[in-house]
């Protein structure tokens, strides 16, 4: 067994050696340090929730659940209610989801199903991803000075000819729900299309080729085979997009019009929870601060609920898929 190389190596001092006492001590300390920082993450969450909860407690005790169903926001009378903001948050996010989801999934299909040569596909993919890199305040600026003037004549036309529909009942005088929802849709588009694209390209090519082999057209394959197979991932992308839209602040604070009203019209100004916080926090007094902390808790509860629901549905859907195989 003794080969000459082995013998010659063993005469040299080996680079492998047992850890010294110092090494063991440093190892223990470093492990302890990482453990401590891992726990800090949890403690940080608990501490933040406790701080915000404590600030909001007086307001929660004073206004209770009436806060969620009341529509007045009057600093002088001390009356606060966030129903219009909750409605505005959900309505604008839903509009953005419909539009952004439709475009996002269409883009995902177009960029995964060999419509374009790979190089061009990559160019479009990068362009859509660039949309996510632009800060939301820049979208707000663009919305104010480019988008609103551009859609105003279109909105006026809809109001003139289709004004009997509740969606077009009011005129677009400047900031409003429609421009806000359009910008939101642009902002969630990269999220939706990136995750849907992953879901679509994860579908096994065998399934696709089997459908083509049976004589299906490209779109029969996409609509009847690919989309149902990838539906889990696409649904996940939509939920994540919705979650992003709910919490988006700056573009909405600049474009939604900040009017405390409940309206189904696309052209009327509205308000959202995030925009309410952004606009009122900088000049809030002590009472208002507590009320705004309460509103922050409501926003947090809504986004958490959506994210957790989405994760749960996704997990069950994935379990179904893997269980069947």
């Amino acid at each position: 067994m003794k080969s000459p190389t082995f013998a010659s190596e063993s005469t040299r001092p080996s680079i492998s050696q047992p850890p010294s006492a110092l090494d063991t001590f440093l190892d223990r300390s470093f492990r302890g340090l990482t453990y401590a920082f891992a726990w800090f993450t949890i403690l940080l969450m608990v501490y933040l929730l406790w701080r915000v909860g404590r600030q909001a407690t007086p307001a929660i005790q004073k206004y209770g659940l009436h806060f969620l169903t009341s529509t007045t926001w009057d600093v002088n009378k001390g009356q606060f209610g966030v129903l219009p903001e909750i409605w505005g948050t959900l309505y604008s996010s839903l509009l953005a989801l419909i539009l952004g989801g439709l475009f996002g999934v269409a883009i995902a299909i177009f960029l995964t199903q060999d419509f374009l040569p790979p190089k061009l596909e990559l160019v479009f993919k990068n362009i859509v991803e660039l949309l996510a890199a632009i800060p939301s305040v820049v979208y707000g600026l663009w919305g104010l000075f480019v988008l609103i003037p551009a859609i105003r004549p279109i909105a006026a036309w809809f109001h003139d000819y289709l004004g009997w529909l509740p969606f077009f009942r009011t005129t677009l005088s400047g900031p409003g729900l429609l421009p806000a929802a359009l910008v939101l849709a642009i902002m969630i588009l990269p999220t939706v299309s990136a995750i849907s694209r992953d879901a679509l390209s994860a579908v096994s090519p065998r399934i696709r080729e089997a459908a083509y082999g049976m004589g299906a057209t490209r779109w029969e394959v996409i609509l009847r085979v690919l989309l149902p197979t990838a539906s889990t991932g696409i649904f996940g992308s939509l939920v994540l997009g919705f979650g992003r839209a709910l919490g988006e602040t700056m573009a909405l604070a600049m474009l939604v019009g900040n009017s405390n009203q409940l309206s189904i019209s696309l052209f009327s100004p509205a308000n959202t929870l995030a925009a309410l916080l952004a606009l009122n926090f900088p000049e809030a007094n002590k009472t208002q601060e507590g009320v705004l902390m309460y509103a922050a808790i409501v926003l947090m509860a809504i986004t958490l609920l959506v994210n957790i629901c989405g994760a749960a549905v996704l997990r069950r859907a994935t379990a179904n898929v893997t269980g069947r195989r």
């Binding site: 680079i15 050696q17 850890p19 090494d23 063991t24 190892d27 470093f30 492990r31 340090l33 990482t34 453990y35 920082f37 891992a38 726990w39 800090f40 993450t41 949890i42 940080l44 969450m45 933040l48 701080r51 600030q55 475009f103 269409a106 883009i107 177009f110 419509f115 859509v128 949309l131 890199a133 632009i134 800060p135 939301s136 305040v137 820049v138 707000g140 600026l141 663009w142 000075f145 480019v146 642009i186 057209t217 779109w219 996409i222 988006e248 602040t249 600049m254 995030a274 916080l277 952004a278 926090f281 900088p282 705004l292 902390m293 922050a296 926003l299 947090m300 986004t303 958490l304 994210n307």
Partner: protein, 302 residues
């Protein structure tokens, strides 16, 4: 040879079964849907080009060295710049990076190397994922409830803490992923040579995972530089330099590019609106540059 190159039989279609005619309803629907999705993809690119063109057109004309050296103008003042806002943004993103990068990477080492399966790790991952979905304005509310109320003043550190909260989950989760990508045989070789687990992490895992971790850090920094909402009521805004009378005035309201854009966009004065566009151009260039840097790191990994 020519007959091989031109598949005439398929195109004439009379004799062949493999024909593609738009008179067939199925083929027509398929073609129309292809055109529709193609058009939708092109339409989706319009906003990006519109934003970039407007930034170059309205922000570009104003671009000059004065912008970087002067203070923001008041209502009726002409000229001016936003030098203090650029410094403020850099200072606050720097504070956020100093807080979130060591924190995130140390916690990620625990998650990826020391105890990945434990209940602690599961709880930490849950917290980090919850923080990822946190609306940015709520990071501002948190920083307000802690730093601003405890120190009693709007300040750059308060803004930094708010941004750090947003960066932390990105840094932590991407660092964990990057460390998990390090091949197990490299780690086992280190252990086999008698390394302690910590030495393995420092000498093998961290250097190997560095490009991946840097990509995550760059993504987080890029996102934080563009954030406005968390700074609105933590750092507020200021019309002055962060260094006053030779000493850095950290515990005072601090300007940032993003908040400057927001404030000036609502002003009725043409000069301030033009400055908002110029600031937006600078901010977008800054964010894009950081993003591209991150891409360079991630390409080096492969």
């Amino acid at each position: 040879m020519r007959q091989v190159a031109v598949p005439s039989g398929v195109q004439e279609g009379e004799q062949s079964q493999l024909q593609h005619s738009l008179r067939d309803r199925r083929a027509l629907i398929s073609t129309l849907l292809s055109i529709l999705t193609g058009a939708m993809t092109v339409i989706a690119c319009v906003p990006l080009f519109s934003v970039l063109l407007m930034l170059l057109w309205r922000g570009g004309v104003k671009l000059s060295w004065h912008l970087f050296a002067e203070l923001p103008p008041t209502a009726f003042e002409e000229g001016g710049g936003f030098g203090n806002a650029i410094v403020g943004t850099l200072v606050m993103v720097g504070i956020a990076a100093l807080l979130s990068i060591p924190f995130g990477i140390l916690a990620a080492v625990f998650l990826a190397e020391f105890d990945p399966e434990s209940k602690t790790a599961a709880a930490v991952r849950f917290c980090a994922k919850t923080l990822t979905g946190l609306p940015s304005i709520l990071a501002g509310v948190f920083a307000y409830a802690t730093v601003v109320l405890l120190t009693g003043t709007y300040s750059a550190p308060a803004g930094g803490v708010a941004l750090a909260l947003l960066m932390l989950p990105t840094v932590m989760l991407t660092a964990e992923e990057a460390m998990k990508m390090v091949p197990a045989r490299m780690k086992e070789a280190a252990i086999g040579m008698g390394c302690t687990r910590s030495q393995m992490v420092w000498r093998v895992v961290l250097p190997t995972a560095l490009p991946g971790m840097l990509t995550g850090v760059m993504l987080a920094v890029a996102r934080a530089s563009g954030e406005t909402a968390p700074l609105l009521f933590t750092a507020l805004f200021s019309n002055f330099w962060i260094v006053q009378d030779g000493a850095p005035a950290l515990m005072a309201p601090t300007a940032s590019l993003a908040v400057l854009i927001y404030n000036f966009s609502g002003m009725p004065f043409e000069n301030q609106i033009e400055l908002a566009w110029a600031a937006a151009l600078v901010l977008v260039l800054l964010v894009l540059a950081i993003n591209i840097l991150g891409q360079v790191f991630s390409r080096r990994r492969v």
